[in-house]
Amino acid sequence: MIQRLGLAIAFVVLALLTYPGADLLSLAVRLTPAPVTTYPAVQGSLAWLHVEHPSGRTPFIADDQGRMVLLHGAIPGGLIDFWSGADHSKTAAPPFYPVDPAAYAGGRCPANYAIVKVPPLCEKDIEEMAAMGFNSIRLALTWSLLEPERGHFNLQYFDRIAQVVGWAKAAGMYVILDMHQNAYSRFVGRSDPPPLPGGSPADMWDNSGAPAWATITDGFPSETYSGQRELNPAVLEAENNFWYNRDGIQAEYIATVAMLARRFKDDSTVVGYSLFNEPMPGWNLPPGFEDLLLFPFYRRVIDAVTGVSDGLPCLTQIFMPAVCGFPDAGVHDLRHLFFLDTGLLREVTDFPTHLGLPVSSYPNLALGIHPYTHGYTVDALVLHQTPDKATYPWGGYDQTYSLAEREARAIGAALFVTEFGNDPTWDPLILANELAEQEQHLVGSAFWTWKENCAVNGNSWGMFDPIDCKQDLTAPKPVSGCLRTTREEMLARVYPVASADPNLAYRYDAKTGAFILRATSRFGDPPTAVLVPPDVTGAVSVSGAVAGEAVVSESASGRTVTVYPAGGEFSIEVAAAPLRPAAAC
């Protein structure tokens, strides 16, 4: 009898802690009404963005008039706490660039050096981004700078973030605050020589993320395999400990995001929070990683920041199963978006690694994908094929986007490319195709990366050429090389900033500067706005059912063409014309 009772209890407990419990909670989340939110207009501020949920199609990011908004942005790395130095044995270098906003005030910019991965982020960078027609920034941040000591936040770093957000606001650009990490942390150590066979000493150049106190490696060696920074036993163990909330570190992370949200709760320049960049599964495998660890973690952060309480009450300092929510942190931020990156292995497959289910009753969610097709997909990593001869993905560049739309609908989120980029050698192939897919799927994106000093392996991936990283490492360097012409042509592009028609179609030809948008609207719909960056010089024309002439306004970001629909089909065109080249370098 006791044995039978024990078996029954084991069955019920295990069911609650795993898929049956997680699935039932998702069902409950789907049936829970969304919280009521207001978006007050503030004079001189950008409009609040939110996620619209139209019936039968993928949710989309929208403004206060309900217009679909396309965010076109870049990702600067200047606020990331990268490792720096010339001596790899010194693994715990202090933060390289000043955190104090005073060092950047009044147009000042600290000197750049080749011993760190990226140059500092300064006001001029934001102005340059705006001049290329970017309307948003994914601002990559680091937990190790937000909370360098457990329970103690570095408020100066929060001020520094606010400084950049202020620059963006002045330039009319939105900001996504990105809790960035790569290979978990730069404090995972470095085993030299590597004790395990086949490994190489970890190169700390790219690592960033968790502070030292939240990096629990349990003595696993820090050595990499196949040249991949993530394939490192110490990194995998540290990631694993985070997902299992060892020593309450996941709870600390959630408190950090809540602190960030508290600071920017009333700022409409901030679109929202990218909750965890490129989540690695640790030693776990999909789909269990995504369903039982990652997305429940996202739900907990949303619970804490918004107070929606979708998950069940649990202790927060021990392992929290999938059904566990998180206590309300008292922020009650009900206006920002949460960007939920898929698990890192989805980047490798360009294919869903789990069947997503509703995550939260909070409606402002965006699924973040990183389409690195032919960069980090299996054809490149495993088969070592070049992009022009790749035999995967079988569905081409479209595969990851088409499948991601379904994934986004399943979890009840908009779709957004939180990161994409490539080796510049392949711009005519990869970058051109990625941008074409983004146009076709009406999805916004953030380009990795704005500026990068130099790369350890292969080319740097920045918008600009790298600096000289071979000579005189201790001397100050320029913040970048020249703007890469191909990237400027392709990324300083014409695009619809906002439209009442979420089914519109548009196409930009980066070679000729020609653009066409076709949309359908009802009479009285809010206007459609198209941004023509300064590089594009062609004449604008409008035809079809529009009320009056197009209104063209000039700013540092170029021409904004505003068209008021009169009910019916209309089109907006920019004629082919020579592109205005960047300033000589």
């Binding site: 044995q3 039978r4 078996l7 029954a8 084991a10 069955f11 295990l14 069911a15 795993t18 898929y19 049956p20 699935d23 269990g288 039982l292 069947l355 997503g356 289910l357 379904r406 609908r409 399943a410 009840g412």
Partner: protein
């Protein structure tokens, strides 16, 4: 004597809760074990294990199928 596949069914059934793809094996093991125990005339036991394994397998299968159907059709 305890039927060995009753224990196998129990292990597979409990594992099929986090790993739904194991559920068909749990169902198969559990139902085979139950029928063997029934036809043994009392020589074999392990009914509780086989039954819990079968139930857990069925639960895993139901949630797996429901999840797939939701993903394919509901959104």
């Amino acid at each position: 004597m305890r039927d060995r596949s009753a224990t196998r069914a129990l292990v597979l059934g409990l594992l099929s809760l986090p790993f739904g793809l194991l559920s068909p094996f749990a169902i198969w093991s559990g139902s085979r074990s139950l029928s063997r125990i029934r036809s043994s005339g009392g020589a074999l036991h392990g009914t509780a294990r086989a039954l819990v394994g079968l139930l857990a397998g069925l639960t895993g299968a139901v949630f797996l199928v429901a999840g797939v159907l939701y993903w394919l059709f509901v959104p």
